[in-house]
Amino acid sequence: MTQLFKLAYRNLWRNKTRSFLSMLAVAGGVALLLLMVSVLEGEMRGALNNTIRLQSGHLQIRPASYEEGKVSLKWEDLIADPNQLVDKVKSLPQVVEATPRLNASAILSIRDESKGVQIIGVDPASTANQPYRQGMIAGDFIQADDREGILIGNILADKLNLKVNDKVNLLATTSNGDVDEQLFTVRGIFTTRTPGFDEFNVLMPLAKAQTFTATENHASAIFVMLQENEQADAVAQALKSNNYQIATWRDQNQFVVQFEDYANAFFVVLYLIVLGITATVVTNTLVMAVFERTREIGILAAIGMKGRGIMAQFLMEAALLATGGVILGLILGGAAVYYYTVNGIYIGNYGITGVLFEDRIYAYLTVDNMINLAVVAYIVTLVASLYPARLAARMEPVEALHEQ
């Protein structure tokens, strides 16, 4: 084994430039894929985390009559006395925060411009509002007793040219089917760095939202945040009741989950294409080496090395190329991933219905992705060397010895 390694290492060293370029091809493929898989992972995690913290929570407790995609303010479609339920939910150890929210469709207008928006009635004191509170870029966060203040996203503010203290008109259908219209003041402007959210949502204190829509002491849902994503199913099970629907983040984000599956399938194809190109380079390098060293193969065969020994020789060279290439690729790819983990890639308002993408994608490197990639690259390189290795192993010693 030592001799095999020594011979393989020295053989690669014989043609340093060619070996280095082959290694670089493996490294390039690994680095490129590592960056791409990390960007995709970051994008998916970002979108999911965003959607969880801004829209779905880890769990939502909804009334039994809740229908996906339909915003109903009828009392029978709302949770009555939500604080009682909130207290029960908060008693579970996994729960970090539970807070009632009321959603209503509305039209926001100013001067001669108007735009369809969603009102989210929130408890201003809840820690679930952290994403908005942290994202305040102008004005102040709303107070629980504010009767006319609202918060708007920066994209909506830009589109309608709104500033803090501007008065806007909101028109919404109430629980009894009437249309109510009131003047509100923009108390502050926030950004969640998620254009799809910041363009369409208006936050107002829950109490005011209930008054405005005639839904006193009712909420559309209880928004629940847990310590970890994976606790959702267990908590949902614990809270199971015939009176409510409980939707986990996974239930609410089917599109993101499916999109991730689709992206992963696409990545398998991409892996094969990139590593296929890399494999071709490795095959070429080793085929050249076999033809250059035909006479040496003949000598080894003459002194008694069997075909499998000669094959092992070339597989060892491929293994060394793969090791160097994968390590170099992980270093180069890791550096690129680090850069994009810190700085992100600006994508602007990239809208897909149901998915809240941030305006910047941050790469995210997982150990699983790194190990999978290294193993696949290693295997592909070894498979690529099978053809030249077999070519060498099958040479007739007498013909190999007479090769010039």
């Binding site: 001799q3 020594k6 011979l7 020295r10 053989n11 060293w13 014989r14 006479r295 040496e296 000598i299 080894l300 065969a301 003459a302 002194i303 008694g304 090395m305 069997k306 075909g307 020994g309 007739e396 010693p397 007498v398 010895l401």
Partner: protein, 230 residues
């Protein structure tokens, strides 16, 4: 005892539609301890005969025996095993592995037959000593002269203690002095260890070393003289 025996061996090469008869029915028996020269003009079949004896090639018809065992129909791996254990080779070109030192080149057949490290070390040093290259053990082939490389090849051929050494034109690429050195070493080892040498040559300067001269012409043995007698 016969180290090798060739019976009615023919070897026909076919290139496209053209057939070339390199050997046309050769019978040859080599006894243990012989120092035999295969001589004859280019194309007479010397190298082909050596390749058949060395199990590097198979006869088109006829039989090849090594140490009394019929090796004609052995498969690739069986032939490789027999070569490893019973036959050593010295080629016309200085057939060393260029990436290995003289020591490592001599060590290679010992690694292949699984010799223990301590025995390997002793044997390699012994062989390099025997060919006068102990001080060049850690030189690579490109740091050695042609004569030195061929002496390393002789040391390698003898490393596993085979009964038979086959040398194809061992002095063809050497000057007179180096050629003489190589032949002297081969002859000395033949006498000291009793190992059988069969070498193909058309170099008139080295034929006198042989105690048996087998002459080939057009794929046939035309003369076989032992100790100067026909």
């Amino acid at each position: 005892m016969e180290v090798t025996k060739i019976m009615d061996a023919t070897r026909v090469y076919k290139i496209g539609e053209v057939e070339t008869k390199a050997l046309r029915g050769v019978n040859l028996s080599i006894e243990n301890g012989e120092f035999t020269a295969l001589v004859g003009p280019s194309g007479s079949g010397k190298t082909t005969l050596l390749q058949l004896i060395g199990l590097l090639d198979k006869p088109t018809s006829g039989q090849v025996f090594i140490n009394g065992k019929d090796a004609t129909n052995l498969n690739r791996n069986q032939r490789a095993d027999l070569r490893k254990d019973a036959i050593g080779f010295v080629f016309q070109f200085f057939a060393l592995i260029p990436t290995l030192t003289a020591y490592e080149n001599v060590e290679m057949p010992l690694l292949l037959n699984g010799t223990k490290p301590a025995d390997r070390k002793r044997r390699v040093n012994e062989m390099l000593e025997a060919v006068g290259l102990a001080d060049r053990a850690h030189h690579r082939p490109d740091q050695l002269s042609g004569g030195q490389q061929q002496r390393v090849a002789v040391a390698r051929a003898l490393a596993t203690n085979p009964k038979l050494i086959l040398a194809d034109e061992p002095t063809a690429n050497l000057d007179t002095e180096n050629g003489k050195q190589v032949m002297d070493i081969m002859q000395r080892l033949n006498k000291e260890t009793g190992v059988t040498f069969v070498f193909a040559t058309h170099d008139p300067r080295v034929i006198h070393y042989a105690n048996r001269v087998v002459t080939l012409e057009d794929g046939l043995i035309v003369k076989d003289s032992k100790n100067g007698k026909h």
